[in-house]
Each structure stands twice: as structure tokens, then as C-alpha cells.
Amino acid sequence: MATAMADADFAFVAREVKARSGLVLTADKSYLLETRLAPIARKESLASVAELAAAARLRRDERLIWQMTDALTTNETHFFRDRKPFALLRDRIIPELQQARPAGRLRIWSAATSTGQEAFSLAMLLDDLRAGGRGVDAEIVATDLSERVLEKARAGLYTQFEVQRGLPVRTLIRHFEKVGEFWRIADRIRAMVRFQRFNLLDDLAPLGVFDVVVCRNVLSYFAPETRRQVLERIAAQMTDDGVLLLGATESTVGVSDAFVPEGGYYRRTLVREQTASAA
């Protein structure tokens, strides 16, 4: 019989998961722990999630703790999610950035990409611009904490259900091929994206500097203080005119002064302006 998790074990799991991913688990999320962690408990031949948590705590088992962290992140995503950010990129943000650097290459970062839909939406958008005669020289870096979601992203294989959420059918047949029951993203699109495991809580400097950062539907799982820190470190990895896109329910306002809202997206606050006015 499944026994309830002891408070000490819940507190341990919540603390370790937060330290590794930023994800906040409040006590009302215990149902989430139960459903998400049960498969791991089974795989480890443990009788219950409570036993799993106790084992991880008593053994300080790093591998188990990472598995639990991975299982507790939410990976929900779909192609061209919310549409508007992608329309803004196509019609305004990318043309403006391109004009500002006629010979330069744009660097775009999908910062919590999950199973690849977001990164491939960006790549399809660039490919469509190119086909329309507005070629964009760009590099897309797509990262996530979870190796599991990245594996799926790299495979580029999606179910019929997944390709029917957010993808117009013309986009589907232009950029995918059918493989058995699945749809696979075209090699041309896949080659535009570099997937890499990366933790947003780590030092971002190794990733380099970006013109566009797409960091959607991940900060809302973090504590306010973590949100602020991550936003400030993202700002440090952006060009002066760099643009940040957040999830539909997320904002930098009241979280960090590193960005100013600009109608659907965020622009880096110029450090030079801040210091100039201070001087």
C-alpha cells in the first residue's frame, strides 16, 4: 500500500529539486509528486513514492535526485505556441535587428526548449522568410535542463496529435515528412538548430551573446528571487538592442529592471544609459 510521504522527505525532495532546477514545489503539489514519481519508484523496485523519497534522502543518491528533478519539470509545449510572439519576430523583431546589422549573423536562443517545438517553430519561421526572399543569417541554440526532452527534440519525431496543435497544414507538409505514424521535421530545418543540455541556474557565459532570447513558460515555475537572478543573467548575455520573449502569462515588470516592456516583448535596459545618468 502506498504510504504518504513523510514531511521530512517532502521537504528534502522540494529543497533538492529547487536547488537543481529552480522549480518550486509547494505542499499543495504533493499530488504531482505522487503521479510523476511513481514510475521512478517502480523502476527502482521501491514500494511507493514515499520510499523513493526516503531512499534518496538517506542515501543522498544524486542519480535518483536528478531523475526526480527531471520528472517534476513540466514539458508541455506546442508549435508556434500563442502565435503572437512568432508573428512579432517575423514582422518586426527580426527585420529590425537585421537592418541594424546588415552583414551580421543573428544568434537566437530558445532557453527552455522542451521537446523542440519552440526551436523548430523559430527555424521554420526563418526558412519561410528565406523562401520569401528575405534571407536571414541566423543560428539557433536550443537548451533544456532535461536530457529526456532533448532526446525527443533531436529525433524531431512528432505524433499526429502534436503536429495538429499550432501548425497550419501547409506548414506541416512544407517542413515535415511522414514516417509511419509519425511526422519528422525536415533535415533542412533540423540542421538549423543546435540542441544542448543547459541549466538556466548555471553560469550563462559559455553560451555567448544573443540577439534574441526566447525564454517562455519556465520562469513562472521559479521563485521570484530565482526569476530575478535568471533574468539579470540573461540580460548580461544579450546585445544592446537584444530582444527577450516570455510566456503569455510572464513579465519582467516587478521582477527585474534589466528589461523594459515594448509591446509583446522586452528590450534590454541599456547599462550605458543607467551609468551615464548616474554619473
Binding site: Q164, L172, E177
Partner: protein, 126 residues
Amino acid sequence: MKTCLIVDDSRVIRKVARRILEDLRFQVEEAGDGLEALTACRKSMPDGILLDWNMPLMNGIEFLRALRKERGGDTPIVVFCTTENDVEHISEAIKAGANEYIMKPFDGDILQSKFVEAGLISYEAA
């Protein structure tokens, strides 16, 4: 209120689709095959048509080709909704003038998302 004609030879599918579309505030009509659908369109062109492929008497693609030749037949937004799920069928449908394409099985989310793509529902309303 926008109107939508559901064309499918399965009563069960029509019922499921009707419930979803009525929730999306469509006024719904039904037809059991392409011929019935053509008759309905001649009486009054709907804003949208949700169209099955395989049906007796006149199938979906034959209906669509006939519809597009009718007076006013270029106005309805046509969304295929069929178990045919290969690239050839999809391309043929687009060539015949379909606006969107749903591969069965579908649910309310997919139907709504496709109606947005097709322009039958505004994104803000969705």
C-alpha cells in the same frame, strides 16, 4: 453568429463535432454526404464547412471541387476532417481548395486550433 456545415456520414462524428462547434458559438447544420452538402450550400452558403473525405454518393474531394465551381462557392472556409493522413491526400485537398486539414482522431483543442488557422475563429476569441 457564424454558420458551419458538418459533412460526415457518421452520425456519431457529426454529434461530437456539433457539440464542439456549438461551444465555439457556431450555428451548425449537418449533411450525411457530399450531395446533401451541395444541396444545403445551394440553399445558403455557410461560413465554414467541416468535411469528411470518404462518404457514399459524393465524397469530400468531389464535393469540394463541385462547391468551388458554384456561384459563391469560393467563400466558405473548408476544413477537411478525415482519417486520410498521408501527404498525398493533404496535397490533393489543398490543391482542390481546402483551407485547413484535420487528421482524425481529433478533439476540441485540435478543432479549435485548426479553425483559428483557417481564420474561422479569431485568435483573441480562442
